[in-house]
Subunit: 180 residues, 2 copies
């Protein structure tokens, strides 16, 4: 029903079915993974009114499983790319895999897919940093960052009349920052 | 041998084979596509010493096919994510599909895979904006941009002793820029 692809590696199309409605892919050497693609194989659709929540699970320093909600796949949106590099600093989220005690190996993470009612999925909020769509607003993000920087730097701007005498301190004309 | 997945859509695993060593996937409604994943199915590897160059082909305003090299898949790196949104402003690159005259429909683009010697692939340069790996070095990129900015702004730095009198011009202490 599901496939999973780590960018740069071979596709996996045979998840471990850990419950009637729960599927798990192993991600070996997960610290070297940037992007993961989760998709429906197109063979069996979700039952009507249902979809899948996609979780990333990795072992914390003490070997306990930390789960983070990456997003969803549904019959209408049967594939998604997630960015998992950089997720490790985040906190775990609520998840439906609680009782399963997946074996935790220090270098192996998991992708877990839980088949649930669409109504349930609509109430769940994925971790923002996993959304690859944010990549599309890269330019926008950069512009916002520079705007922030200009606002930040400008708050320190002084005119010569306001300067305390200190001939060695270097100053940058504010319009240089703005033009850049 | 190959699969193709548009983020958000169903996977395609049956390319059109347009020559012994050339495969094409159609991408309907390509203007609404951001990311494309190209991967080997894992059934048949490339012959030794060979790999695949991956091209994006779209119709220009006059309906002519424009080809751009996105990157490569090989037995060692059997999958890749490419960003195709934003490629339309780029120029076409040399490509090996020249004589094929794929039918051009205004809203349909193609992914073309050409099986070639690895030595040939090594001499080809994909369009930079297609590399999703650049996303991975986002922090690095941002840091480099800020370093560039500091170097740029610093070149304008003056001390009070060097300032021409102009009480209304605003200045930003250089160490504010550096600390940020």
């Amino acid at each position: 029903m599901f496939g999973c692809l780590v960018a740069g590696r071979l596709v996996q199309a045979a998840p471990q079915q850990v419950a009637e409605d729960k599927f798990v892919f192993d991600l070996p050497d997960y610290e070297n993974i940037n992007h993961v693609v989760v998709f429906m194989l197109g063979t069996i659709p979700f039952p009507e009114g249902m979809g899948g929540s996609v979780y990333f699970c990795y072992p914390d320093q003490s070997g306990m499983a930390v789960w983070q909600l990456l997003g969803f796949v549904t019959n209408e949106k049967p594939s998604a790319i997630f960015k998992i590099s950089g997720l490790k600093s985040g906190k775990g989220s609520q998840h439906p895999f609680g009782a399963m005690n997946l074996p935790q190996t220090p270098t192996v993470a998991q992708i877990g897919i839980s088949v649930e009612l669409l109504d349930n999925l609509a109430q769940q909020t994925p971790v923002a940093s996993a959304a690859v769509s944010s990549v599309d607003s890269f330019t926008e993000f950069t512009q916002k960052m520079l705007d922030n920087f200009y606002n930040f730097a400008s708050s320190f701007a002084v005119t010569q009349a306001q300067m305390t005498p200190n001939p060695s301190e270097a100053f940058i004309p504010a319009n240089v920052v703005l033009k850049w």
